[in-house]
Amino acid sequence: MKKDRKGPVLFSEYKPGSALLKAAGMSREDILFEIKDSGLKGRGGAGFPASVKWMLTASADSDRKFIVCNADEGEPGTFKDRVLLTEYPELVIEGMIIAGYTIGAKEGIIYLRAEYSYIKEFLENKIEEYRKNNLLGKNIASKEGVEFDIKIRLGSGAYVCGEETALIESLEGYRGEPRNKPPFPVNTGYLGCPTVVNNVETLAAVPHIINNGGEWLHKFGTDKSTGSKLFSVSGDCRYPGVYELPFGISIKDLLEISGAENTKAVQIGGASGLCFPESEFGRKLSFEDISTGGSVMIFDKSRDMLKVLKNFMEFFVEESCGQCTPCRIGNVRLLEGVKMIEKNEYTPEYIEKLKELCGTMKIASKCGLGQSSPNPFLSILENFKDEIFGKHLNLNYDEKGIKKSGITAAAHC
């Protein structure tokens, strides 16, 4: 474990095994109470309260239940789960065991993205250590009847498999296509059994909460966003990397910590997140203001924002699973729109039409991919319109959007 990282919760001192032994002496209800008291919310992006998910699974009537650790980490600009898995695997493993004990699951699965297959053996060795120390397997910590084991399943290179129901489809041996919700995995998850799917970082917070009590997490962060968040900071800054900071930190402070200068724009939440201009650097990263899985990409004044947008839209066109029309076709249309702007071959009217399409995609797409892929399109075109439309004047069109030769751009779409 690397010792040079510092942070209030996850990167604070931890004695491996300590929370596990403590939890084994607690009742399931007490653990649930502490998690609820802590206010811990999902760190994968959506921010759903962990205790609610756990309680629903705990009360579901089934002989077989599962804990799935979502280590698919596919959002561009995110790498904090990689740091947790390689430097703090104890926290993740113990978080899973405690979750399993609490909800009555005996089986845990880590869904590790294919790109991280180089971490698999290391994790397997760690898991084996826990087995040898009687902290995994049967009668964990010598407690009669407490049983839990963990296996690792590799993804096969599909961003959408990070979506929890697509992940379950993939585990079951199918194409990773998201399911309709409800039913939610807490009732009908892996193999139809009640399943908790939690992000790596959510699970990693659990051992610290057990050791320090739920109330303790309120020492950090804000009212509605207790505790800390890992931020994956990359792009134009001197010190890219993973930072653990209390919720509620401003973009401006984050930029200072990471040694960013001349910053023009900050993309928060990865490709599917929002892009903020300098005038909004006072905004705060928390569930109350800007909610995020933690990806922070910094762009300085030399960067071309249309290029940024094009790169994101290409990503979505590639990664859409194609199951539903608003997302499959919508992303292609948005990318086309970006290319039209790039070539100065657009009409303002058509761009407005595409913005309407964004609204449709947000409400009509089946999963979070198609619901959030319009985010960068809308926020980049709005926040950087002077730069983008200033550079890309539609000289071929008159002010009504009529091509000077007589054809409108919208007509050939």
Partner: protein, 156 residues
């Protein structure tokens, strides 16, 4: 593919299935491990796997086509991944990729004529803080440039 080769593959499929079980949930691990050994999943083996696991062969093929890390045609001995997402792109990853293409004469396909490498230009693989990086098989090379990348690949 000659008969001995076909038999080797068939036997390996049965080893994998006895290791993981013939349930549907084992399909991806079986495909992944088969590919790890043979580089790709040929049509004949897809059928063998399908029959052994009681799945329609078309479905096995559809799974392979869905996942970008599963392949149904031969590949180079080494898989080289370079990320094309925005952070890496701004740090010069596309120039590095171009240099690799030129060095290995990858004009139309992604696999070099000598079968040494297959180049994959991928989406973000979570090494943005060490951008640009390159993953060769299961080895990670951080903060590369054109020269260091070519040096690593020549040494394969």
């Amino acid at each position: 593919m000659n008969e001995t080769e076909k038999n080797t593959r068939r036997e390996f499929i049965h080893v994998l299935i006895s290791r993981h079980g013939a349930e549907r949930t084992s399909l991806l691990p079986v495909l992944q491990e088969f590919q790890k050994k043979f580089g790709y999943i040929d049509g004949q083996s897809q059928q063998e796997i399908a029959f052994a696991m009681n799945i329609h062969p078309v479905e096995v093929n559809s799974i392979i086509s869905f996942y970008s890390f599963l392949y149904d045609s031969p590949r180079g001995r080494n898989t080289v991944r370079i990320c094309k997402n925005i952070v890496c792109d701004f740090h010069g990853s596309s120039e590095i990729a171009d240099a690799v293409r030129k060095e290995f004469k990858l004009n139309s396909g992604n696999t070099s004529a000598d079968g040494k490498i297959t180049l994959e230009i991928t989406n973000c693989f979570g090494l943005c803080d060490k951008s640009p990086s390159m993953i060769v098989n299961e080895n990670v090379y951080e903060k590369i440039d054109k020269d260091s990348a070519l040096k690593i690949l020549r040494g394969l």
